[in-house]
Amino acid sequence: MTAYKKPRVMWLLNHGTARKFDVAMLKQIGIEEIFLPKKYPDDISFRSASVDYSEDVNLTIPADELAVLNDANWYASPSPEAWDIANRHFDILFFITHFGSIVKNIVDNYKGIVLWRAFGLDRSLTYTKVLNYLIGTRGKNLIKSMGKRFYFAQAYDHLPHIEADFLSQRALFLPLGLPDCHINDTWRGSDPNIFFICPDLGFNPYYQDIYNQFVKDFKGLSYAVGGAQPISVADPNVLGYVPEEVHKRNMREMRVMFYHSTEPNHIHYHPFEAIKVGMPLVFMAGGMLDRMGGKNLPGRCKNSKEARYKIERILNDDWSLIEDIRESQVCLLDQMKPENCVDAWRVGFESIFSNLEKVKANQPLPIKETKRIAVILPIEYKGGSLRGAKLLAQAIDHGARQAGKSIEVIFCHLDDYYTDEDFADLPLSIKRRPYNWRILNREEATRAMIYAGLEETLKYEKYIVADDQCNQLMECDLFVIISDRLSIPLLPIKPYIVMIYDYLQRYEKIISAEENQCFIRIAHFAERVLVTTEFTRSDAIQFAGLLSEKVIKLPMLTPQFALQQGNAENELARRYFLWTTNEAIHKNHENALKALSLYYEKYEGQLECHVTGINTKNLTKSDLPHLKPLREIVAQNIPLKRNLKLLGDLTEPYYHLKLQSSQFLWHAGRIDNGTFSVVEAAHFGVPALSSDYPAMREINAQFNLNLNWMDAYNPEDMAIQLKKMEVEASALKSRVPSAESLSSQSVEKLSGVYWKAIKECL
């Protein structure tokens, strides 16, 4: 072997038997330091997995760094620190793909040689298909982006024939064998049963079909079914879990093992286990065993009829056949013997070693890449949503700069709707880009995907893209879309993150079922879904059906406000509280007005109620079904009519002036993602009375607002709490958090967590 400083290897699999063999091979070719992962997913497909600490003693890396590696879940998202250690100490990494995220994680973080360990799949699958299924056609590009650092480490040399070029051209044969092929002929065969191994019958349709076929083919013969059964099966012949001793007894005493598989690319361990103890193996032709033992073995059967015939003879004491099979089947172990595999491993690693220095010297792109992130406002939002979007853009921009990253944030909004004043508060470092949505038919969309190097099959008839009349934002690396309100699928040409404020439709009938499906679809295709409350996070998982890992909760962002100068309101002359609302159904108008009636009539409320918000000027005259009852309530209550002042939508400075002169702010809505107005009120030292629901509780906790609560479904309680606010207004003002305290939640302070969430998708 070429003289080379012995490299360290990370073998990031937990398969027990494969580990024994692969580690033995690595040792034989001179690799002494091997890291084995200590965590694996709680997933039924890991039923053969185990953890092995035995190699840790051979690692010469600092103990604290080993602890970080051991603590990492390499199947999910290892920490940057873990990747840093991996890069510093390990030259070669083996992995398997149970989850698509591992490929992206490796590509994004690991700099050494990468080996995708391939043990073969059933005939319906290829590794190309698996990758495509897990991460779409981006997977191909991710693999290709590793260039010569990547190898498709196949356990059987014929596997690449069915794979796409990007895998087959990087194939490296590292055969899989048995760590110990020594024959220990303990078999007696006193129990005239067929031993058939078929795991996972309680849930796996693939094995269920095999089992059903077996039962049909060997009807009338006695059999026992081995293999792990995490879910129990009714058939008494299915053994399920048995202690080691019982298993050994079965292997020793059962008359014959039947191996069903005709899979050309995958083989199980148990046929070899049988051969090792001398148990006769009757197997089906066409599978991997044909490659190992040719087509003339007496245990080989061309069809189930032949298999039944041979097994019947064996069960009926045809010892001549039994001995024929036993003697001849030993040759099946030849390819599995370590001594017959090690040369291929040596040759394979020669190739890796010759490439290793080059890989280490691999220079980053000499062209400095500035990542571009497009923050896209998809509809004509104004008010809070526009403000939220601008704050998000600022947080990303600031967070990246703080982390020393060179990025460009582009704020994209619909053309011909906004004025320059709407963006006067946007920092100069964030560029604006007007756009319009453009619809592509499937043919155009497919062509675009191909040009972009993403040959993905598109299933919808129409797709939309943000057309800025330049390059449709294609120069950007990532889109961050503010809300999921898109009724046509976004062309999946760029990765995107979606910010979802709420799933109000779960609680109020505000959109059609079709629209709901469209919105949910947007979230499903996103790389990440950002939310600002646990409540919405829960809805995203429970209602929209998103993977919990995909949904990231981030703190709510608020701007800083300057106190307004002016004395338009005489606090003593006009004492009032502010009710911020709009026409939406969830704003709970009817109960609010009933509560106000009680407040003025029953509890002799002294404060005027000043109503602000979009379309609130004629709130009590609206013909909207949910607002119609308001007319009557107001008409029947003179004090209410006298004290209710409908101000409509106010400019921001005037609203702030009104706010800072008010006694308190009233938020009477039933449900939403929480209102930012209570935080805004706190900035001006104004307390707030809010409906009690989860999102508001979260906002209260994040900003330490000391909110006062009421039951939005109970007008009586609402009225009582209003009176209480009136009486205790002065005292409550002293409990409002200080500006200093609120500044701990400023964009600058929170931008780090925003950047952390975003950068994972870049």
Partner: protein, 550 residues
Amino acid sequence: MSVKKYGIYLAWQPTIDLRAQGLGRHLAEFLKAAQERKDVCFVIACPSWMKPSLIELLNDACIQQDYFEILAPRKKPLLLVAYERYIKITTRPKKRNLFQNFYHYIKNLVSSKRSKIEQVIVATRSKTLVIIVSLLILFLLLVMGLFGKLFRFVSVVFVAPCRSVTQKTISTFLSQIEKITTNPKDDLKILEFFKIMRKQEAKLINNLIKARKDITAWYCPAAFWPDFNDIKAPRLMCIPDVVLANFPISFACAGTGRMLDSFKQVEKSIEEGEYFVTYSEEIKWGTLSKRYHIDPEKIFVVPHGNNSLNEVIKLSGSLSDNEAALIAFSHTQLKTALCKSAYGMNGGLFMGVSNFKFIFYASQFRPNKNIISLLKAYDYLLKRRYIPHRLILTGLPSILPSINEYIQTHGLENDVLCLHGLSTQELAACYKLADLAVNPSLSEGGCPFTFTEALSVDTPVVMSRIPVTLEVIKDPDLDKEMFFDPYDWKDMADRIEWALQNKEALLAKQKLFYNVLEKRTWKTVVDEYIDILEHISNRDLDKIELKDAA
């Protein structure tokens, strides 16, 4: 002195006029400069049908024919000869002979009586009539070389019983004839036919190449022909850019399946290629290495040479004021150019009058050229900043309907002149007379020629701040004054306005930089190419020392 032979591979399909291709002009410059090298000789391998066009190109560029060897199959495919004759006949505005009269009679008959013919054929019980009609159509088919159609036709007419011949089949067939005879060059089937012809010709060329062991390495100036990779000798392929990959949506909406087909050919060429040359580091790293994962060690970068236009309008002799004469000559050229306006009306309006101020951008219209942003900037400058200039472009607006639409929606037909198909002298004159040249492009393969072309005739220029430009123009002072963000039309407008107000100062600064750049001639470029060919023929990567491009 021993002379080394290198090959140049060209494989355009029939009917392409090399002189009309950008790559053709590039090739002419390349060969012109290569003449000066007495130690190397170029052999140009091309299809039989390109030979005449190539010889004309060499003649036009005053390149000595005996210095180059052309390697091409001796005879053109017979079907192409037939096709060319057909085209000649149909495009010749001469008196028709008997045969032509008959042909046109048949053609007109088919058009005017189509419906009736269909009815007669569908309803007929007469085998004789079917045979006569079949023979007639067969004759037309032979002329046009549509064998594929022929087989289908035969099966329909002779194999199937007359009653089963549906009216729809015949109708489709007659429409096909009508379409092909009307505009054969644009017909997809004809193009497909050319593609097959080109593919077959490539095999013949490769056989000729195989026999030439004296040629040490091959160069292909484009990536359209994957057959180039069948050559067994060392190969260098030029990748100017893969613009569709960077502008996927715009091109997907602007183009058709044909464009997709070409794109796939380019990708195939790259994937199977051996060595590559680009005009910029950006294309080397951003496209070939990042997108196609090509080993960077196999990619060479040769930036453009100076593209001076001064020579084509420079006047010599005993004129008392050369500059005044040059301006007068340029005006004459501009007047001719104005006749080429895409909007006939404004072309006519300005014919004979060329003393107006204008901003100039010379480029075809492609999605990456960012024309809409330039139009937005211009519209703002005209209507909000009241700059009096017109804007002259050189693309054909019908290529990208959005450009046409913008010009019309904003009433810019008289202010934005689209002068398409300019001669080199007309182009030079436009640059000379423009107050400012502008290049708003979002992406290019190398530093746009706008810079050297404009400055060679003393016109200042403002350009997009894009990586390929920044690779060449690294002066921080110039950076601030001449670049704008191409994604921000307002920034573009501000820069144009500033440059118009400060054009002398800007020109003075740019000329200083241009004086350095102009030293990089086509000879320098060709020397670098020859060094690379030499290097790959030795296949020893460590020995090469490419000259500093800048």
